[in-house]
Every structure is written in structure tokens, then in C-alpha cells.
């Protein structure tokens, strides 16, 4: 518009000349039409919740990783050539023989300005990066955000987790110290345990018998080039899919599978994300500046002989180390036709992580099949409403925790004055019993919470007020829930186990595919056998029309019984003006399943399919 005025030579418009920024933007826009994209993204609506920021923590700690890693590559020498360290500090290293990789690590820590800080920021960021990825995945899993249409993005995310683990492990090994060398030796052992190709694979990786003089340069290439390159590409895909499919949202009045309720990206999220980036970078710098991490000069340059007490991997590999420590040795090394099959290594180091990642990778498809669900989902589940899924997540967490504790068995033994053998046996039992117990308890807790929701919706909050009727009957007054509360507790559907066609058709002929159907039905029964039906509108109406209750409510003073809380806004821009949702309806009258179609309020964005 400004340009048009400029061309017309309008005097008034001439006075308001476009600013330098405006001109630059215009220059760019004329050549790239980027304005369309900016406009689209700037008006993009995102729902808001703290748990949606876990992925953001991962993204920003990755940026910190790239920045600090760039600094480190300037001073790191990825070579296994033997050199002698000359330097006054640390005194314990002076004059020692070591690889150039180790020497340059110590050198950059003590002689390069800011080197120690950057190394420590990099390592802390790596721990936080993977930690936030795992927490983010728990959020996605527990809220069912992996369901259609986001299965692909779940797989992309899982791939990134595996890449992040690989990035962590390759980076951890680079300084070529005793601690990481021990870890590398375990990897070597695991690789060699793979039947038939193991020893060939090990020689391929190390270029000779372990440790050789090839592995550090190879890990370096993987660590600074291949893995981060793949990660950046996948992050771009992950974010693109997130924008394309729009972010899921927690249930609430006015939110449906056909809209997104939240704030626009500009200015709200741009401000929030920028702020969060600086908070994250600040916390990571603070940690790097005040908390020592991975002091490799304490462990010394790598030498295959020593293994010091307290040798553990970084936290995200602890579960594999723990599984290895829990696995009994004798009796699991099978010799078949002259070939050794070391199940004592294959089970904990290959099969256990294999089960974990296979389960995570196939879960969205398994669950969809067991639910018979082909719908798109944009409203997230409350974890309690899917008891089996939530219980599986908790069971996985418990199994992870037991394995991680097993990897720290020596520290537990010394710090709590326990016998290390006793710890091992307790954890061996717990590895099997713990997840089952956690599954059972979590499932029951979820079902109980659902029942409590039902109870609350139908009968209201206990008010503690006891009323006596003229007839002598005592009744406790219950305060009805406000419409938002009712919506939250009744908006979901409770899936039923699959129903399949009978084994015989009408003419008594065995039906093809029955057995497969029956198997899926069994899985479905496992998921949805125990269920609590959310309160229906009819039940709500019935619960509220008890003569006595109405009588009490009529008699109670204003502000206690009656729906004092008419339409309530559930945060910014979420209630539609004159909408059809529960926000404006009396609980139980119109039923909570009214769809959010129609009136598209400010800050609401229709989903692609719903535009009609």
C-alpha cells in the first residue's frame, strides 16, 4: 500500500516514507513472495500449555549444542596419534603419554579461553537435550498425540531419539579417556556378540582389533557431520508436519477435533519462544559455568587395562548397562554347531533395547487397530481416559528405572550401605514384578479417576453442608460443576473392545480370517475390557432432576447451589460468542458433545478438513 502511495506521488503518503526495514522486506517480498508465508505463519494459531514446551526445550538445547559444538571443533584434534601432554595444569596430566584427541581435550579445557565453559555447556546440553526428548515423548504418548494423523511424526520423533542417543554416545567417546573407552569396549563386546557377523562388524568399526587407531576419527565424522545433519533434516520435517497438521490441544470448552484454540504465533509465541530460548541458554550456561561435568583428566587417557569403580555411561544409556549388569552370566552362553551364541550379552544389550524401540515404533498402529479407530484426533486424551496406554507408559518407565538403578548398583551399595549382590537380586526380581505391579496399579488408578469424574459430574462437589428436611431426613448439599468442568469430564469417548463377525457364516462355513480377527479382538479386550462410560446427557439430566435435590437447590442461598457460573471463559479467546459448546449451556441440557463447528471466534483456526 505504501508503495502504491509512493508511486502516486501523493504528498501525504510521501511524508510517511517506508522505513528501512519495510523497504528491505518489500525488496525481499517482490522477489520471493515470502510475505505470503510470513502472513500465514504469523497468523498461525497454537494452543498453549506448559507441557507443549518440552519439545521446545529439546529444540533449543539442540541449538545450544550446535553453537557450543562448533566452538569445540575449532580446538579438538580427532586423532589417536600418541603424544605427550606438556602443561602445568592439571598436574596429574603433566608429562603423560596420551592420544592427540585426549590431549586436545585437556588443552582446550585448561589453555583455551572459555574452553572449559564451552565443553561443560555442550555436555550438560546433551544430557538435557535427551532428557527433554524423553519427557516430550512421554507427553505425546500419554495424551495420545501420536494418533492419526500424527503417526508419521511420532516415527520421525522416535528416529530423532535414536539419533540423539547415537549423537550422545559418539560425543561421549571422543575425548578418548578411560571412562568412555570402557563404554566403547562394551559396545565392541556387544557388536562381537552378534551371531556370525559380529567379529567382522567389530573389525569394520575399529579398523583392527579393539581399540585400534581408527575409531576416534570415525566417531568424529559421525558426531559432527552425519548425525547432526540427519537431526537437522528431521527436525525440519518434524516442525513442518507439526505446522501442517496443527498442534493438538487439551480438551476444554470450545475445543474440538475441527478447530485449534490458542494464540497467534506473532506476537505471542514469537515472544514466548524467544524468551524461552534465552532462559534455556541461560540455564545451560549457568550449569556449564558452575557444575563440573566429565572431568576427563580425572579418568586419564584411555588404556584398555584399567576400569575404575563408578564406571557408568551417561544417563540415557544406563538402562542398557543396567540390563547387562542384571543378566546372569552362567548358562546363557550357548554353543550351537561350534558357534557361540552369547545370550548373556544379546538379551540385555540387543533384545531389551530392541523390544523397547519396536514397541514404541509400532504402538500407534497397534493401538489404532485395537481400537478400530480411523478418525483424526486433534483433542488430546486425558491420560486417565486411556488406562491401558497410561499403564503401559508407567510400566515402561518402571522397567527403565529398575535397569538404570541396576547400572548404579555400586553407588547404591556404598551410599546406602547395602550388599551389591542383594541389590542385584532385588532388582532382578523387580525388573519383572515392578512393571507388572505398576501396570496394574496405574490402570486401577486411572479407572478410579474416571469413576470419580463420573461421580463428580453426576452429583457435584461435596459442599460439607448438611441440610435437614422437615421430615427429619438429612441430605448433604452437592455443588454442581460449572460447564467447563462438566465438559472436561464428559467430552471423551470410552472405546469398547472390537466386535468381530462370527467364526461361521450363515451357512455354517468357517470364515476365512476369523482367527486373525480373534487375535486382534483379544488385544482389543486387553485394552478396553475394563472401562468406565463417561456420563451421558441423559444421565446428567436424570441426576439433576431428583425432586429432593431440586428442592434443596431452590432453597439454598444464592451462590451455593444454582449455576452461578453461567458461561465462563476458559482462558483467552476460547469461548465462542453465542457458541454452541458447553461454555454457554447449562450442564446436562445440551450435552457436552456439541461440536465446535460454526462460529469461528478469534484465535480459532479451523482444521483443514472442516472448512467445507
Amino acid at each position: 500500500m505504501a508503495r502504491a502511495a509512493y508511486q502516486r506521488g501523493d504528498d501525504v503518503a510521501m511524508k510517511q516514507r517506508p522505513s528501512a526495514v519495510g523497504k528491505a522486506a518489500d525488496y525481499l517480498d517482490q522477489r520471493t513472495s515470502i510475505g505470503v508465508l510470513v502472513k500465514e505463519l504469523a497468523r498461525k494459531v497454537f494452543p498453549d500449555h506448559w507441557s507443549f514446551m518440552l519439545g521446545e526445550i529439546a529444540l533449543f538445547s539442540f541449538i545450544v549444542l550446535i553453537a557450543s559444538g562448533f566452538f569445540l571443533t575449532m580446538f579438538f584434534d580427532p586423532s589417536m596419534a600418541l603424544v605427550r601432554y606438556e602443561g602445568e595444569y592439571p598436574p596429574a596430566m603433566n608429562g603423560q603419554l596420551m592420544s592427540a584427541a585426549f590431549q586436545s581435550t585437556v588443552h582446550m579445557s585448561f589453555e583455551v579461553r572459555g574452553g572449559m565453559l564451552m565443553r561443560q555447556i555442550h555436555h550438560w546440553s546433551a544430557l538435557i537435550f535427551i532428557g527433554s526428548i524423553v519427557l516430550h515423548m512421554f507427553r505425546v504418548f500419554l495424551t495420545g498425540a501420536f494418533r492419526k494423523p500424527r503417526e508419521i511424526n511420532w516415527i520421525v520423533g522416535l528416529t530423532m531419539l535414536i539419533l540423539a542417543l547415537a549423537a550422545g554416545f559418539t560425543g561421549y567417546s571422543l575425548p578418548d579417556d578411560v571412562l568412555s573407552g570402557n563404554g566403547l569396549r562394551i559396545i565392541d563386546g556387544v557388536v562381537k556378540a552378534i551371531p556370525l557377523i559380529g567379529s567382522y562388524l567389530s573389525f569394520l568399526i575399529f579398523g583392527s582389533e579393539f581399540p585400534g587407531d581408527q575409531v576416534i576419527p570415525r566417531l568424529f565424522t559421525l558426531h559432527i557431520f552425519v548425525i547432526p545433519g540427519l537431526l537437522i533434516a528431521l527436525i525440519a520435517l518434524h516442525l513442518f508436519l507439526m505446522v501442517l497438521q496443527k498442534h493438538g490441544q487439551y480438551p476444554g470448552g470450545g475445543r474440538s477435533d475441527k478447530n485449534v484454540v490458542g494464540y497467534p504465533a506473532l506476537p505471542v509465541y514469537v515472544a514466548k519462544m524467544t524468551g524461552n530460548f534465552f532462559i534455556i541458554a541461560g540455564v545451560l550456561t549457568l550449569m556449564g559455568g558452575t557444575m563440573a561435568i566429565n572431568n576427563v583428566w580425572n579418568y586419564g587417557p584411555y588404556d584398555p587395562a584399567p576400569v575404575s569403580a563408578g564406571t557408568q555411561p551417561d544417563w540415557y544409556i544406563l538402562f542398557v548397562d543396567g540390563a547387562l549388569r542384571l543378566m546372569p552370566g552362567p548358562g546363557f552362553e550357548w554353543v550351537l554347531w561350534g558357534y557361540t551364541l552369547p545370550m548373556n550379552i544379546l538379551i540385555p544389550a540387543v533384545i531389551v533395547p530392541g523390544i523397547l524401540f519396536t514397541l514404541l515404533g509400532t504402538w500407534p498402529f497397534l493401538e489404532a487397530r485395537a481400537t478400530g479407530d480411523h478418525r483424526e484426533h486433534h483433542v488430546l486424551d486425558r491420560p486417565r481416559n486411556r488406562p491401558v496406554r497410561t499403564a503401559v507408559a508407567v510400566a515402561l518407565f518402571v522397567a527403565f528405572l529398575v535397569c538404570a538403578l541396576a547400572a548404579t548398583n555400586d553407588l547404591i551399595a556404598t551410599h546406602f550401605a547395602l550388599s551389591i549382590f542383594a541389590i542385584t537380586w532385588v532388582l532382578r526380581v523387580l525388573l519383572f514384578v515392578g512393571p507388572l505391579f505398576a501396570f496394574f496399579v496405574t490402570k486401577r488408578v486411572c479407572l478410579a479417576l474416571q469413576r470419580k469424574d463420573r461421580e463428580l459430574v453426576l452429583h457435584g462437589h461435596e459442599s460439607g453442608r448438611i441440610v435437614r428436611f422437615a421430615t427429619g431426613e438429612y441430605v448433604e448439599v452437592h455443588t454442581p460443576l460449572d460447564p467447563q468442568e462438566v465438559w472436561l469430564r464428559t467430552q471423551h469417548t470410552s472405546p469398547r473392545p472390537l466386535e468381530i463377525k462370527p467364526a461361521m457364516d450363515a451357512r455354517g462355513v468357517k470364515r476365512k480370517g476369523y482367527r486373525s480377527d480373534r487375535r486382534w479382538q483379544r488385544l482389543s479386550e486387553f485394552f478396553y475390557e475394563d472401562r468406565v462410560e463417561p456420563a451421558t446427557p441423559a444421565e446428567l439430566a436424570a441426576a439433576h432432576s431428583h425432586g429432593e435435590h431440586d428442592a434443596i437447590e431452590a432453597r439454598t442461598p444464592a451462590g451455593v447451589g444454582q449455576g452461578t457460573s453461567g458461561p465462563r471463559t476458559a482462558g483467552p479467546r476460547s469461548t465462542r460468542p453465542g457458541g454452541t459448546g458447553p461454555g454457554s449451556s447449562r450442564p446436562g441440557t445440551s450435552g457436552p458433545r456439541a461440536d465446535g463447528e460454526g462460529a469461528t471466534g478469534p484465535g480459532e483456526e479451523p482444521r483443514p478438513g472442516s472448512k467445507g
Partner: protein, 259 residues
């Protein structure tokens, strides 16, 4: 010289030479051999006091003449260093039966400990208490000490001496608080589960290097708080407790106004 040369074929010459050789060897040995130098001069009175203390406090288990009883070792020949280590760290007299005798505030003062050591040393020769010079960390080389520690000690005591677990509830203690003299004595005498590192295995100078390395570790970490020097497990715990704790706190704060 002429006189000497004249008599070199004397039939007693080999005998004289042999005597001279023996004298030289003996003299050199006396000068260079690891001295069983006594830190304090021991008198018979000390030994008598030590014997009384022993009979009152130790004989129940170790026997009236320190000959040992079933399951309890004889102390004949363990030397003053062993007694000084066990008693001055409070491990002996043992408080209770357990996987291993644990350190506690010492029960005897310096003189009583010295008397006990003198008494046990009088029963049979054994390693003596090291001199102050032998355990002086400033005279050691921490770099060599670390290399030795890494190959001989770190598998139980952790890379910087933070301690570690052994089987059946036994453990290698942390060495942060252990005195230089006690570290040296432990290597020399191998208390409890610890192996003996005698002077042929790790020479006195090397022992001092190790002491020097361990003392240097007490100065703390260059990178900030050492977090117990326990390695990746404590680092992971802190990453979650402090790092993710703060970041999730910030996320809750940022997202607080909505949903």
C-alpha cells in the same frame, strides 16, 4: 701399591677380598635397604604399656599373646604400621561384627596407639610406621601417582578416590579425609579386603607419588562443583534435578496464563 701388588697372590688374598666384598655389600645394604626406621624411639616401658593395653582391649579376639583365634588373625609379624593404621582410624577395636570393620573416632590417643604398635612390633618384625618425609605430598609427583593409582587402585577406590563397592556389603572407602600416613600404611599393610602393595610392588617413592595425587584431588575441580566426583550417574541426576527442573519450572511459568 707396590706392597699390595706384591701380595696379591698371597694365599689369604681371596679370603680378604671376600671379607671386603661382604663388608661392602653389607654396608651398602645397611645404607640403602628400606629402613625400618622407627618414628618414635621405643622403650621397654612403652612395650609394657602396650602389652597391658592389648590384654585389656584386644586379647579377647586376638588371643592373650596376639597369636589369633579362630577367624581372627594373628598379629605376630604384622608390624607397627598395621596397628597404627587400624587403631588410629578407629577400625580397631572393632565396634561390631559386619562385612568389614568401619572407621570411627579413634578409641586410643596418640601415645597409647604408639605403645600398642610398639608391643605388636616387638612380637615379630613387620612394616614400620612411615616417616613424615615418606608421606610428604609436596615431594611426590602427582602425574606419576595418577598413572599408578589408575592401574592399581582406581578399580576399587574410583578414579579420584571417591570410593566404591565391593562384594557382600564390603566397600573401598573414599579417600578424601584419609591422612597421608594412613594412605601409605594401607598400601603397605593391606587392611581387610585391600591387597598388600609391598615396597617391591610399589616403591616407597611411588607410594608417595600416589599420596601426592590423592592430596591434589582435594583441591576441588577446575570446572566448578565436582558433584561428588561420582561420574555420569550423579551428573545425570543433577541434569534432571537442576537443569530440567529449572527449565520445566520456566515452561510452567511461561504457559501459566493459559489453558
Amino acid at each position: 701399591m707396590k706392597a699390595l701388588a706384591a701380595r696379591r697372590h698371597h694365599r689369604l688374598a681371596p679370603v680378604v677380598l671376600l671379607l671386603l666384598a661382604l663388608l661392602t655389600t653389607g654396608g651398602v645394604y645397611a645404607a640403602l635397604a628400606p629402613s625400618t626406621a622407627k618414628a618414635e624411639t621405643v622403650s621397654t616401658a612403652d612395650i609394657e604399656t602396650g602389652k597391658k593395653l592389648f590384654q585389656a582391649n584386644c586379647a579377647t579376639c586376638h588371643g592373650a599373646n596376639a597369636q589369633g583365634t579362630e577367624g581372627v588373625p594373628s598379629l605376630v609379624g604384622v608390624g607397627a604400621a598395621a596397628v597404627d593404621f587400624q587403631v588410629s582410624t578407629g577400625r580397631m577395636p572393632m565396634q561390631m561384627n559386619g562385612p568389614q570393620a568401619e572407621a570411627k573416632p579413634p578409641q586410643f590417643d596418640k601415645e597409647q596407639t604408639a605403645a600398642l604398635s610398639a608391643y605388636v612390633a616387638s612380637l615379630g618384625a613387620g612394616p614400620a610406621i612411615p616417616t613424615d618425609e615418606q608421606v610428604d605430598p609436596t615431594q611426590g609427583d602427582p602425574s606419576n601417582g595418577m598413572a599408578l593409582f589408575r592401574t592399581n587402585c582406581a578399580m576399587c577406590h574410583n578414579a579420584v578416590g571417591a570410593g566404591g563397592a565391593l562384594s557382600e556389603g564390603k566397600f573401598a572407602p573414599a579417600l578424601w579425609e584419609t591422612s597421608e600416613r594412613n594412605i601409605y600404611q594401607a598400601m603397605l599393610t593391606g587392611p581387610q579386603s585391600m591387597p598388600v602393595f609391598n615396597d617391591a610392588n610399589i616403591t616407597p617413592d611411588e607410594k608417595r607419588d600416589i599420596v601426592s595425587f590423592l592430596v591434589e584431588q582435594r583441591e576441588g575441580s577446575a570446572g566448578g562443583n565436582a558433584l561428588g566426583a561420582l561420574g555420569p550417574v550423579s551428573e545425570g541426576l543433577w541434569a534432571f534435578a537442576i537443569g530440567l527442573g529449572l527449565l520445566i519450572g520456566a515452561a510452567v511459568w511461561i504457559g501459566a496464563k493459559s489453558s
